[in-house]
Amino acid sequence: MTAKAQIGPLALLSAAALSLPAFSASQPTERVVSVNTSVYQEGDANAAEVVFGDLQRFRVKTNQFNLSAPIGRDWSMSLGYDNEAMSGASPWGTVAASDGSGDLIMSGASIDDSRNGVDVNLTRHWRGQSLGISVGYSGEHDYHSRSVGLNYERDFFKQNTTLALSASYASDELTPTDAQLFQRLEKGSKHTRSFYASVNQLLSPVSMLNLGFGITKRTGELSDPYKLRDIRPGKRVERTLTASYRRYFDWQTSSLAVNYRYFWDSYSVGAHTLAMSWMLGEETALQWGPMLRYYSQSEAAFYTPFDRYDQPDTMAQSSDFRLSTFGAVSYGLKARYRMNAVQVSMQYERYDSGSGYALSSTKTTHPGLVDFDVVSLGAEYRF
């Protein structure tokens, strides 16, 4: 089969039948095994803005596996596994620079860690509704997270409308390395509770809309124990509003995906995320297309451009670049090639961040903001 070969009508109808559960509570009808390997590489820190430490920032290699399958007539399951190996230097803190911004104190490049994550989901399907339970574990040498979740879906109006509700709880344990040497927290915990509700509506034979609302409450040790001066409130409430739109075009058998999220939290961070992708050749063996993402956030109420040792350690402060005002643009390409039941995929994404991309203005740009590239290669088998 050549790259331009058309997928036959039978295969198309099969794909339709097999993929429909994504829009409804129905049981999936095929088993899918997928694997993925990727490399994430951050750009080096700017030497002119680093007063101590290594310039070489993070590199992460990730291997992933996923299996999803129907069980009997009424059940389905999925099993996911992720392995990450990371190395490089990360920001420890900031000191005041002459222009009112901060200069970076970096760690050495000796950080070398790995993470293993696994999650299992089991779902019971009835006519027009489903109820699933999931459990997950993620472990690093200094961080362990355990989670449990419930999700419920119900179809209405001939499966034109689907309501989805989910709730989850995660309990995390932190045991930072070299705690006594650097006077870090020796042991801590945090807890995350979340609830998410969404409605999926088919608008026409070629378009659909999904709207969602989520609320997450985090409590416990929310400060970064590896930062030299990082004191955050022990409670954080986050809310999200999401809208996703899909539109199919007969021209080039292409599809447009648009996802928007508005996020706001009790740290006073407000953030907009708009992501779009365009896939050409949906009904051909070779599919490809560009993707574009824009992100903008405002800073946390207690964000400071440099660490303030003149403030008491009971007062919240953080110079973490992730809590500063900044924006980011990411763009890339993805391609897939189908050979009967097997599909291979490639994806490249470039991420550029800076205060100039932000919707709100700021006087200083954090020197710790990162640019990175992600390259991934995957394969999928349906049977």
Binding site: A16, A17, L18, L20, A22, F23, S34, N36, Y40, T62, N66, G80, D82, E84, G136, E140, S147, G149, N151, K158, N160, A164, A170, T192, R193, Y196, Q201, L202, L203, S204, P205, V206, M208, G214, T216, R218, E238, T240, L241, A243, S244, Y248, A257, R261, Y262, V269, T273, E282, E283, Y295, Q297, R322, L323, A328, S345, Q347, Y351, S353, S376, G378
Partner: protein
């Protein structure tokens, strides 16, 4: 800002729902294409969630909350 976003979302919702039609099962072949799904590729989605969660303050907007790593 929140109220402004809510108003825009509500307006879009009303507009879109007013124009929607009942889609019969045999009309859904194009809706069933891979890229038309909310999560076209579960592994890509997991990777993206992890990357952005570790570099940005905002997270969530899906069925499970962000968390489960020491990266943020």
């Amino acid at each position: 800002m929140v109220h402004k976003v809510l108003r825009i979302v509500t307006g879009l919702l009303v507009l879109l729902l007013a124009s929607c039609q009942t889609v019969e099962p045999w009309e859904r072949d194009r809706l069933a294409q891979q890229e038309m799904q909310l999560t076209p590729n579960v592994l890509d989605a997991r990777l993206s969630d992890q990357v952005f969660f570790s570099k940005e303050a905002a997270s969530g907007g899906g069925a499970t909350a962000g968390g489960g790593c020491g990266c943020n």
